[in-house]
């Protein structure tokens, strides 16, 4: 069983479209995250949710909206996609907060054409 699973694996879309990425964890963790990894492998945190409550919201355009229907799921919706949004997006979870080790999903490679 995959601990942190995200779908889709690949997402190719046109500029201006709206898309969503889904994430689910079956580890019973309280905290979930979205990270963005650019072409230089730099991982930057975007959002963090603890028990469905938003606790970290880094400087991310408001075109990005996370949604956590329950503590096992954290989805990412992106409106009006731009070329610069192309990257790999990783979902992760941890037992509690940031001082815990992170369990990552396998990533969603987003390409905006």
């Amino acid at each position: 069983d995959t601990a942190v699973s995200q779908t889709p694996k690949y997402l190719v879309t046109q500029m201006g479209n709206d898309k969503s990425i889904k994430c689910e964890q079956n580890l019973g963790h309280d905290t979930m995250y979205w990270y963005k990894q650019d072409s230089k492998k730099f991982l930057k945190i975007m959002f963090s949710y603890n028990n469905k409550e938003l606790i970290i919201n880094e400087t991310v355009p408001n075109r990005f909206s996370p949604k956590s229907p329950d503590k096992a799921h954290l989805n990412l919706h992106i409106n009006s996609l731009e070329l610069g949004d192309s990257a790999v997006y990783f979902c992760a979870s941890s037992l509690s907060g940031h001082n815990e080790k992170l369990f990552f999903g396998s990533g969603t490679q987003l390409s905006v054409l």
């Binding site: 991982l43 930057k44 940031h98 001082n99 080790k101 992170l102 990552f104 396998s106 990533g107």
Partner: protein
């Protein structure tokens, strides 16, 4: 501003040739330093957590150490399957995490 710098950016070793990766950090109060391994097309996988200067952790051919300014990931007698990108991340007392850019290790047989 919290900063994490990893060096070298890329490292090519022959099988059996030991070496070290460096992670230098400047943060306002370190809660913990984490090492992850990332294989192509996959998410980072946790390796170690270090909390205080002088602490060391080992796992197979890998050993991580921590000082007040940097952490080293020592790789002893590496094998081709150790080829990956190694990422370090620091978490501050304020709960903020910052990742380094990673070191891509290639071990040739």
């Amino acid at each position: 501003e919290d900063q994490v710098t990893q060096s070298p950016e890329a490292l090519r070793l022959q099988e059996g040739e030991s070496s070290s990766l460096n992670c230098s950090y400047t943060v306002s109060g370190l809660r913990g330093l984490f090492w992850y391994r990332q294989d192509p097309g996959k998410g980072p996988e946790f390796l170690f957590t270090l909390y205080s200067a002088g602490e060391e952790k080992e796992k197979e051919r890998l050993k991580a150490t921590l000082t007040k300014k940097e952490s080293f990931l020592h790789i002893t007698a590496p094998k081709p399957e150790d080829s990956a990108t190694y990422l370090c991340a620091v978490v501050t007392n304020a709960g903020k995490s910052t990742f380094g850019d990673g070191t891509t290790l290639t071990v040739k047989p």
